[in-house]
Symmetry: C2
């Protein structure tokens, strides 16, 4: 598919739907929609529509479908796989004006939110009512519910609570031809037909545009505590993460970070962290309905950590200390990015293979004279890796790609995957066959052709280009 | 599609794949495969194949695909919506010989089981290792993992732990043309491509045949307790269920049962139950890692129950008493069935609408002079209803259908669904449009045509007949 521009008659038809003020065509207006948080990628749509209602989205898609205009749905544009980039031009469909939290139903533990609601805004609104929405991608201050649904976003709390998909009870979906369906609602159990909700979650805007979500909530945990444990090496820390879980402990978050990542982030944040000399550390959260329960878990975890070679175990029970530790963790990706590092890998393996994965990363990076920054959601076996050229010189892109592909292959060999939470998007599209067998990819192609026969929805993403 | 018989050359080709002993053609041999647990329905396949391996399943499907032979996958044949009935003849594909538990991985909390493993057998094997697989359909002594996956089965413990789908990490799927793909594995997080695992879960054998599943496990809860609370009326009990959850309590099971259901089941089991005069009762399980925690929840629940008008609150902390109460509950459907009642409805609504649903059932049943038996997984708003003609006379089938359709419509009007856990199958197929909008059904048809272009997989089920 070539880059698609719009003729004046098309922009008029689209502007009629959303109003002139919300169809952006000037290059300056469109420019912000040409980027997401993926390194170095820029692709401007020919125009950007900012609809306010599901009905407007429906009319936009019907129009684009009739005229064969590619449509790239966009949320907070915080993605890390290029999924929101309009690589074939056409229309950027930004859900940024659909920001209403339509309902927080404390009786049924359900929130109903439009796609453009920022995740943290939803969490705060929900917590005000004593409720809790656990999915917490690092970008939660900027990313949106619609984007989280499209990517099946994870985050630290997936350790205990699972990723976004586990919290979605239903969606309002607008299909490529403009037809609209609610796929669920407030009912917790519903097996009437295929699970289209789960099919759309993580489909990266290639099967439908999501305008609204019904999200499951729980009671807000009364007590939280954070534990920090420094280690002499990254493999030792990875082994401890494995052992913590093998014993049946379930931290609400369990992050692993290496020394270089901590240094860069704490320097940028201007926050001192304890044990600066430690080569690696684990950050654990525990939550629960009572202090005794959380205390029991923290104590048990502390014992396991020390058995596994932790240099120390520090408890941050008070809120300011907890927040400081998490601020360093949450700011990590952004701080490291400024060094001019590689694209952020998003490897995931079975927890028992974490140590092997950490070793493989180090081995492959070392062989190519690259420095690895490693941090991530270790509880889920999910590690982010960025590579830096020693001396900060420019990358040999070909060599970098070879190294990254080798690391992806190792993750798959260990029973893991090439992306745990960031999605395939543009960046991993042609690596998908590394993880998925031909019959899987064939089924994806068939489903895509069935639901989007003209191929207008987010073309160029997720599904490998035909050989 | 007319009823499909097999010509001798076809049976020869199929027998060559599984061996003569495992291709059943004689009427007597096939007869057991003509029924499931759905009332009154009988439909015999022309032959039944009992493959032992995924490869045999693959070759069977390739053969049936090439010759246009309908294939009806069968597990324990305990379904309650006719999903396993070969209504178009052709081949019954029984997974009953694929009964290996391939691995219980205590390091990663994953079980790998073939489709024909009986659910309870898996649970017991897992519990021996101190682990726990929560999904527990009432038929768990006879149903299979493959059947649970096909139907996205529920059960009492879905209250706290969710239905089968939430525990499935991956499947080995054989598509209609015989191609095979693993859709996941031991990795807990994986967003590489569409979530085909979730698409196949609950697809009732219409999109692929599942031969193996990777199932998530947790540590076995150390402590369990059961609470029984009698009420003066069913609506009062329903209100109490709502209030228990509204307060943020999370029982691991929360069942509601009415007096007629308890009477029939306790009589058949020969087990006396406390409070025989109560019009309704709630059975609650709580579980947790420590006695104190469970005790705190039980105490809190007891207070709420009494506030909500419970006539009493009885604790069954010891195992024999717990088991007796649950035996009466689990035997209910079977005992009631012997009265010659209607098909078992499987309504689900948002929890706040339980009281309204109970009222609607009573109203509609009363208007048609039918007696309702009501029992179910109230925590999930999921109620089973069977209707009995007063005086046990034969049903006026037309009037019965009208009443049942009216009750289904009420459930949908209350924001609920026509099936919470039993599936659409044959029995609800033409009622699906009551619950799902046209664009939803259209998407289902498109996905079905994409993955099973010849329509050989479980034809006549789930998807409404074309108008």
């Amino acid at each position: 598919m070539a880059r698609r521009d719009l003729v004046p008659e098309e922009t008029r038809a689209l502007a009629e739907i959303v109003g002139d003020a919300h169809l952006l065509c000037a290059a300056d207006d469109v420019a912000p929609y040409a980027k997401d948080w993926t390194r170095d990628l820029v692709a401007a749509p020919a125009a950007v529509a900012r609809p306010r209602t599901t009905e407007e989205v429906s009319r936009l898609l019907a129009t684009c479908s009739a005229r064969g205009i590619p449509v790239t749905p966009q949320g907070g544009r915080t993605g890390l796989s290029g999924g929101a980039l309009a690589v074939h031009g056409g229309l950027g469909l930004s859900l940024e004006r659909m920001t209403s939290i339509l309902e927080i139903d404390a009786d049924n533990f359900v929130a109903v939110a439009e796609a453009g609601v920022v995740t943290q805004a939803l969490q705060e609104a929900v917590e005000e009512k004593g409720l809790y929405y656990p999915p917490d991608p690092a970008s939660r201050g900027s990313c949106t519910i619609g984007g989280n649904v499209a990517e099946n976003a994870g985050g630290p709390h997936a350790a205990k609570y699972g990723v976004t998909g586990r919290w979605v009870l239903g969606l309002t979906a607008v299909f490529a031809d403009g037809s609209v369906a609610d796929t669920g609602g407030k009912t917790r159990k519903d097996v009437a037909g295929y699970d289209l909700t789960s099919l759309l979650v993580g489909s990266e805007g290639t099967l439908a545009v999501v305008t609204r979500a019904w999200l499951r909530l729980i009671a807000r945990p009364a007590v939280q505590a954070t534990v920090l444990a420094p280690f002499a090496s990254l493999p030792a820390a990875a082994e401890a993460v494995f052992e913590i879980h093998r014993r049946g402990l379930v931290p609400s978050a369990c992050e692993i970070v290496d020394r270089p990542s901590v240094e860069v982030s704490s320097r940028k944040k201007g926050l001192a962290v304890p044990f600066p000399e430690a080569e690696a550390r684990i950050l654990l959260d525990f939550d629960g309905p009572s202090g005794e329960e959380v205390e029991r878990e923290v104590t048990a975890a502390g014992e396991v950590l020390l058995t596994c070679g932790a240099l120390d175990v520090a408890l941050a029970a008070d809120e300011p200390r907890r927040r400081a530790l998490w601020e360093v963790r949450r700011g990590m990706a952004e701080a490291i990015l400024e060094l001019g590092v590689s694209f952020e890998m998003d490897l995931a393996v079975p927890r028992s293979e974490l140590v092997a994965l950490v070793g493989a990363v180090r081995r492959h990076a070392g062989a190519a004279s690259l420095r690895a920054f490693t941090y991530g959601h270790a509880a889920d076996g999910n590690l982010h890796v960025r590579l830096l050229r020693e001396g900060h010189s420019a990358f040999d892109e070909r060599a970098l790609e070879t190294t990254m592909t080798a690391i992806y292959a190792e993750a798959v060999r260990l029973g893991g995957t090439i992306t745990g939470e960031h999605g395939v998007g543009l960046t991993l599209r042609d690596l998908l066959p590394l993880r998925r067998p031909p019959a899987f990819v064939a089924a994806m192609r068939a489903v895509k052709a069935a639901l989007d026969p003209k191929g207008i929805l987010n073309p160029g993403k997720l599904i490998p280009a035909p050989a």
